[in-house]
């Protein structure tokens, strides 16, 4: 009886959700392959540890930048393709500040402000890092956030507001125009070369079963900044009136309007919070990976979209979780597939989620 019931329930499940079953099989195969690798000594625990740590860091950046995207996606109802270039813009403004403070008197001011365009100044030569030049880095973080806020407010006021009442696709196409204009304007100013920005930061080795996992000072900085900001956003949304208004607007805009919520002010607050987080995320991303190019934000954007959709549009916890999953996928997929396909693996995860659970892990359109 019990067995028969279990069997029929299992059969119903297999018929109704075939994708889930296929996924479970694939996951089992992957895990089995990994265990086999560990058992035969081909894969080391320390390697896995390094990849997990790398994925965690990547995931924090994606999650932090994803919060802003998720908020504008749910409150303003459009997929903002210029978000990636806000990341780059924040990064460039922040790094210009860092270079200026760290290198003042040691190099030409123009070269410093252009973040060493054309190889005029090197970040390594200026010995930039969290421990070596803490003031420059902190100032850079603040300026990156501030500049991204100003930029997103200015773009919203001049470009998005006139078409805000159109449908989401109109806004989406407009945002693609913004993205290209911003990206190539930055290339015009800062040049197209990818530059190294930091000196090698001091790191410590954690012993793990059969090897060491290295964690450096910039990893810790990223962890602290990202976790702090995420906690801050959580408190803001849950504890303040503004947060409540935002959640109401994400839920039902018309209802929010008749309830007397000043929607235009809430929209502005959304851009301020989202833009600020995005700019800081851009700065931290560059601090963590140590190189800066004008395409960085755009390349990250698709992963951010994947994270936001994975987590469920509108949910900041979803964006954070999605970011971590996507980051871990992109990093850990090299255990199974060639590294050239790591990015593809992250997109595949997103597509799979669209198939299985289109509304995302934290489904529902509430900024909570």
């Amino acid at each position: 009886m019990g067995i028969a019931e279990t069997y029929s329930r299992g059969r119903r499940f297999a018929i109704e959700r075939p994708f889930v079953l296929v996924l479970a099989v694939i996951a089992a195969v992957l895990i089995g392959d990994l265990l086999l690798g560990i058992a035969t000594g081909q894969t080391q625990f320390a390697d896995i540890g390094t990849l997990v740590w790398d994925g965690l860091m990547r995931g924090l950046v994606i999650g932090l930048a994803g919060i802003g995207l998720s908020m504008t996606y749910s409150i303003l109802n459009f997929a903002n393709f210029s978000h990636g270039d806000y990341i780059t813009a924040g990064a460039f403004s922040g790094w210009a500040t860092t270079y200026l403070i760290a290198g003042l008197g040691r190099a030409d001011v123009g070269a410093l402000l252009l973040v060493g365009a054309g190889g005029s100044v090197y970040g390594g030569a200026l010995d930039i890092g969290m421990l070596s030049t803490p003031l420059a880095v902190v100032a850079g973080i603040v300026v990156a956030g501030g500049f991204a806020i100003v930029l997103s407010l200015a773009v919203d006021r001049t470009i998005f507001r006139p078409v805000r009442n159109e449908d989401g696709i109109t806004l989406l196409i407009t945002s693609i125009g913004v993205a290209f204009a911003l990206r190539y304007l930055m290339q015009f100013v800062f040049g197209s070369d990818v530059r190294g920005t930091t000196a090698q930061p001091p790191s410590m080795g954690l012993y793990l079963v059969d090897g060491t996992v290295f964690i450096d000072a910039h990893d810790i900085t990223l962890l602290v900044v990202a976790a702090g900001l995420m906690l801050g956003v959580h408190l803001l949304l849950q504890r303040t009136k503004l947060g409540k208004a935002m959640r109401a607007m994400a839920d039902n805009q018309d209802l929010a309007l008749i309830t007397g919520i000043p929607t235009e002010r809430v929209v502005r607050a959304t851009w301020v919070i989202g833009g600020g987080l995005t700019g800081v995320a851009g700065y931290m991303f560059i601090l963590w990976k140590g190189t800066l190019g004008f395409n960085d934000g755009w390349l990250l954007l698709l992963l951010i979209f994947a994270a936001v959709i994975l987590g469920g549009i509108g949910s900041i916890y979803g964006a954070i979780t999605g970011g971590l999953v996507i980051g871990l996928t992109a990093s850990m997929s090299v255990l199974w597939i060639p590294s050239a396909f790591a990015r593809a693996a992250a997109f595949v995860v997103m597509i799979v989620i669209l198939l299985v659970k289109p509304s995302g892990l934290f489904s529902g359109r509430a900024t909570a």
């Binding site: 997929a79 054309g118 470009i159 015009f188 698709l302 396909f341 990015r343």
Partner: protein, 441 residues
């Protein structure tokens, strides 16, 4: 809308007249620019051939996109991925078999070119099916994200070393990785004319051309003939899409664009219609990609950056989504003004002011403006980096269009599905009907 009506009304010959007018003015402009640049006849002919080529490819691609977005309402921003798959599969099938020590690092299957083109289109259509299956049932913006992610996956895959070289049926084949592929088969024009037995006639025609261009006329003639061939393909695309749009199949597509739930409620399996339309458009995009890259003689994965998709979207939006005539028009305007225009402007400036050195970077360009109020270096730098600024301008044009003319020059016409005209006769105006008649929006 009123501006568009005025345009169409003022133009003798309607839409066709408008296209002819735009093309003629574009060519006149380029001939004038050529005179300004001091081109000889050969240069002029080359410049016209290049312009025709770009008008051809952009018109084809925006026609294919019009099937997706204008007819069916599918928001595809991964066009370049379908082009890439078309081109690479075509190369894989049609490149000559690998011989050690040859110029090419990898070979192909050595099949005729037309087999390769068909295989490329088929591969693009199948990729379209794979993308469409998960995404079509979801919102339009999800399809957008999935398609653009797909186009980047395709680019990274062709860039990767893993697919650089592999073996099929005992032949060493591959996609060449980051260093790209040489398309070392028989040139397409030669293949075309040989297949209809006119290659000798064509060579005779080229020789006759020596009257106009005395030395080595073949590249010039090839360029012009290829441009004309592309215009022929544009007409074929146009005809195909017009037929598709007017067929019962096309009427369902338009119904889906307007309101999918209604189409569904009327018993149409909208998913199936959307997938078919998507696959057809993808195949056409693959073909357009092949036609774009064949004459270049080589292909690298980084050609297929998302910016090409962006170009095609601008072309479609300039012309107006939903209108085939508008797509062709948009392709022509985009190619002539936004794509080739800035490059000609740059050439013109350097022809008028030869040997002006330009600053190496933005720093050297802006420095004199700040210290001595000298704007010349900045202007020089601006002209020198016009290829980047071109994209800034395109972005601003796109924003402007979305603000002021979201329907483009000839956009979103309501094409009635009925066989007879549904508009009220003008004499009905006496009993309260509108004098203008309501047949157009």
């Amino acid at each position: 809308m009123s501006v568009r009506d005025d345009l169409a009304a003022r133009m003798p010959g309607g839409d066709a007249g408008l296209i002819v007018f735009v093309l003629v003015s574009a060519y006149l402009l380029y001939i004038l620019a050529g005179i300004g640049l001091g081109y000889d006849l050969r240069g002029q002919l080359n410049s016209i051939a290049t312009l025709t080529f770009y008008i051809g490819v952009f018109a084809m691609l925006s026609l294919a996109l019009n099937l997706h977005w204008g007819y069916t309402g599918l928001f595809n921003i991964g066009i370049v991925g379908f082009m890439a798959v078309g081109v690479y599969v075509m190369a894989l099938v049609s490149k000559p078999v690998f011989v050690p020590g040859g110029a090419a690092q990898v070979g192909g299957l050595g099949l005729p070119l037309w087999v390769g083109i068909l295989a490329g289109m088929l591969a693009a259509a199948l990729l379209g099916l794979v993308v469409a299956l998960p995404a079509l049932r979801l919102r339009a913006d999800y399809l957008a994200i999935v398609t653009i992610a797909m186009s980047e996956i395709v680019r990274f895959s062709f860039l990767s070393g893993e697919l650089q070289q592999f073996s099929v049926l005992g032949n060493t084949v591959g996609f060449g990785g980051g260093s790209g592929l040489i398309l070392d088969f028989v040139p397409p024009l030669q293949a075309l004319f040989q297949s209809v037995g006119l290659w000798g006639v064509y060579l005779g025609f080229v020789d006759a051309f020596q009257v106009i261009v005395p030395t080595n006329p073949k590249p010039v003639v090839d360029g012009i003939v290829y441009g004309l061939l592309l215009l022929g393909f544009v007409s074929a695309f146009y005809w195909l899409l017009k037929r598709t749009g007017e067929s019962p199949f096309g009427r369902v597509l338009k119904a889906i664009r307007e309101d999918e739930d209604v189409a569904n409620a009327l018993g149409k399996d909208t998913d199936k219609f959307k997938i078919k339309s998507f696959m057809l458009g993808c195949a056409l995009m693959g073909l357009a990609g092949i036609l774009w890259l064949i004459p270049q003689g080589a292909v690298t994965p980084n050609f297929f950056r998302p910016r090409v998709t962006f170009f095609i979207w601008i072309a479609l939006i300039i012309g107006g989504a939903g209108s085939n005539t508008g797509s062709v028009l948009g392709g022509a305007v985009f190619a002539a003004v936004l794509y080739q225009g800035p490059r000609y402007f740059q050439n013109l400036v350097s022809a008028v002011f030869p040997n002006l050195g330009s600053p190496a970077g933005f720093g050297q360009a802006i420095g004199p403006l700040i210290s001595q109020l000298d704007p010349v270096p900045l202007l020089l730098y601006t002209v020198d980096s016009i290829r980047q600024l071109q994209l800034v301008v395109m972005g601003l044009v796109l924003i402007w269009l979305m603000h002021n003319r979201p329907d483009g020059l000839l956009g979103h016409r309501k094409e009635t599905a009925s066989v007879i005209s549904l508009s009220r006769p003008k004499t009905m105006a006496t009993d309260g009907g509108s004098v203008e008649g309501g047949d157009d929006e």
